[in-house]
Symmetry: C2
Amino acid sequence: MYTVFVVGTAGSGKSTLTSSFSDWLRGQEQSTLLVNLDPAAHSLPYEPDVDVRDYVDYERIMVSRRLGPNAALIASIREVARYVEELKEDVNSFNPDFVIVDTPGQLELFAFRREGLILTENIGVEGRKTMLFILDPIFCTNVKNFVASTFLASSIYLSFGLPMIQVLNKIDAVPREHVERIQGWSESMDSLLVDLEDKLKGGLMVFSREVAQAVYDIISSIPIIPVSSISMEGFPELHAVLTRIVSEGELELR
Amino acid sequence: MYTVFVVGTAGSGKSTLTSSFSDWLRGQEQSTLLVNLDPAAHSLPYEPDVDVRDYVDYERIMVSRRLGPNAALIASIREVARYVEELKEDVNSFNPDFVIVDTPGQLELFAFRREGLILTENIGVEGRKTMLFILDPIFCTNVKNFVASTFLASSIYLSFGLPMIQVLNKIDAVPREHVERIQGWSESMDSLLVDLEDKLKGGLMVFSREVAQAVYDIISSIPIIPVSSISMEGFPELHAVLTRIVSEGELELR
């Protein structure tokens, strides 16, 4: 049983990827369990097998505690963590090849609060978990935003300590050369540095080389796989990297 | 006119700091304008002078477009960016010493979408803007989370390109030695690495050593000021760093 946590900023396409990739996995005769961890999910493009909304009701929390939407999101994720044992048992009662866990819409509720850590530590089998960090190719077309995304990914990588794969999602939505440029940055530090020096100015430019080096070190441990949740392009590669990482274990993080 | 954008993850205390620091500034006879950019703010601890909720109604967007809370937050911030000219004029019609801009509750709606960039580029006077990134001392007590927060801050620093100050907020809520430990990490690379190597294992340890080293140069250009919004401790230091950064300009980024 491999457990895959899908994380990314709001609107990056976590739920769509969860839905589409699980369809693909099932097409490969891999049994797949879908978990929704977002108590505020309104509608989902898939039918969750384990659904946190069975335990936590965002709307009820907002109304009964008279909270605004932001405070209610925080209160909800706290409540989710209280049901971690139930969620763990729900997942363990199945024994699928893959567990795909779709995380809350707002990344920071999961990634920068202790509740996220409690959930990833308890759901799935130790040593057989990975995290998919979704990159938005429209945001990442600008080299500064690409670097910002990479730093964000490494931030999450460090705090969770799980092997991570960056998924460059929605490649159907941007010209092919944008995807190639992003892949180029991840493959050649020089190409990243040239484009970065062109975009940064003044005091920030002094950091170009250090930043490029840091980003390059990070990316060498976090592969980037371009995929489309619409055409399913890239899913065989994603599946191959996932199984390799989980089967080879922690020593193969880099 | 100095413009200060207050950013941080949900619950880090952006609005409380906005309120308390502006009280302090006014006590120093600095005229201060308060701007709320969160269309989903339910109640605020201060009275905004310019309020995005006069233009964008989160609840109405949610109901009229039949969106869930996450999708409605994204739609709202898009709508906010459409009113950027109005917001700019509202701010410019005053001419205060300080403009304090409280940003949306969910950091990623502002920091990892192009709307955030549009707003910071248009509000305030070029070359006289800074960003306060709020650190939560409870989250940052763990060295991995401290590094994760620093990566997050660098990510935002690079994509906005504004001088940044990290504000270690809520120091009244944690033991003094926690604050000192966090300050120690920011002042000595060795102390950071010793604690980090103690916490990380396997492949992650190699990764952290290289990356922490490279990113340390960036950290050194983002000072950390411990403050309490309750006791106002640290506000004189914050004010001093703010005015120094803005008056000395970009060359003093490091």
